[in-house]
Symmetry: C2
Subunit: 137 residues, 2 copies
Amino acid sequence: MLSKKTKYGLKALAYLASQKEKAPVQISEIAKCENISQKFLESILLSLRKSGFLGSKKGKGGGYYLIKEPNQVLMTDVMRVLEGPIAMVPCVSLNFYEKCADCPDEASCSVNKLMLMVRDANLEVYRNNTLADLIIS
Amino acid sequence: MLSKKTKYGLKALAYLASQKEKAPVQISEIAKCENISQKFLESILLSLRKSGFLGSKKGKGGGYYLIKEPNQVLMTDVMRVLEGPIAMVPCVSLNFYEKCADCPDEASCSVNKLMLMVRDANLEVYRNNTLADLIIS
DNA sequence: TGCTTACTCTATTAAATTAATAGGATAATA
DNA sequence: TATTATCCTATTAATTTAATAGAGTAAGCA
């Protein structure tokens, strides 16, 4: 299941991507338009800034803005920051690999095999989509 | 992330599917071979029986056994019972549809659009695999 | 019949994760 | 220097997941 954090983060990014002007947008505006708890959204936007997706400006006229063009932002990168590993088990994760404690041998693990296919299917979707593709005309 | 319940459930099903004999296999044997808490596995196998994947036999020589041939068991069905919806948000779920509380209109929702693609990619994998495909020679 | 075996069922608890909230600190603008 | 809006840390609430406990039931067999 997609966490609220990811859901809200995606909505906020799409909101920023759909702005004509590149001027900073306030948290309160995004929270209001997208029905998101403002305080919760604060922490999400903060983490998106720290991972290099957003820039921010304090004080009057301040807010958040996209650093890159929407079509330069891969969904793989966004999802990894918001939701964590794309793989459903650490033993098939590209960026967060970890051996399973209960599994003596990955090559003979039935779960590993299936989850590898699932990971690849998901990667394909996320790699072929950017923030620009999320925007609804 | 895949829950332990699902992981253990898949391993147990694969274990049963790989049996030459169709004789019932005891919980304790599966738990031991797959490094699973026996009590936890009990409840998982019980739910797999109640959803029609497994049969059981009590008493001496008892245990669990597959009802269908492994190649007749679609992973879509298994995953829905063990893990729940395949979709990452209820608003794109085929079998567990629900409207999002925070989202006024699905057609104009950026998350909905992406998650629809993800769902389809996952469905494709699960539909093209059966329990028989999980077995490692 | 009575003993053993192994699944059945309910309830509880522990642990971990997620979601939300509170409140003050900091920086930019006018 | 007052106002605005992000920044940061800490805490709490809620939910979900994982594990455990223990008594109950049915089947097989001597």
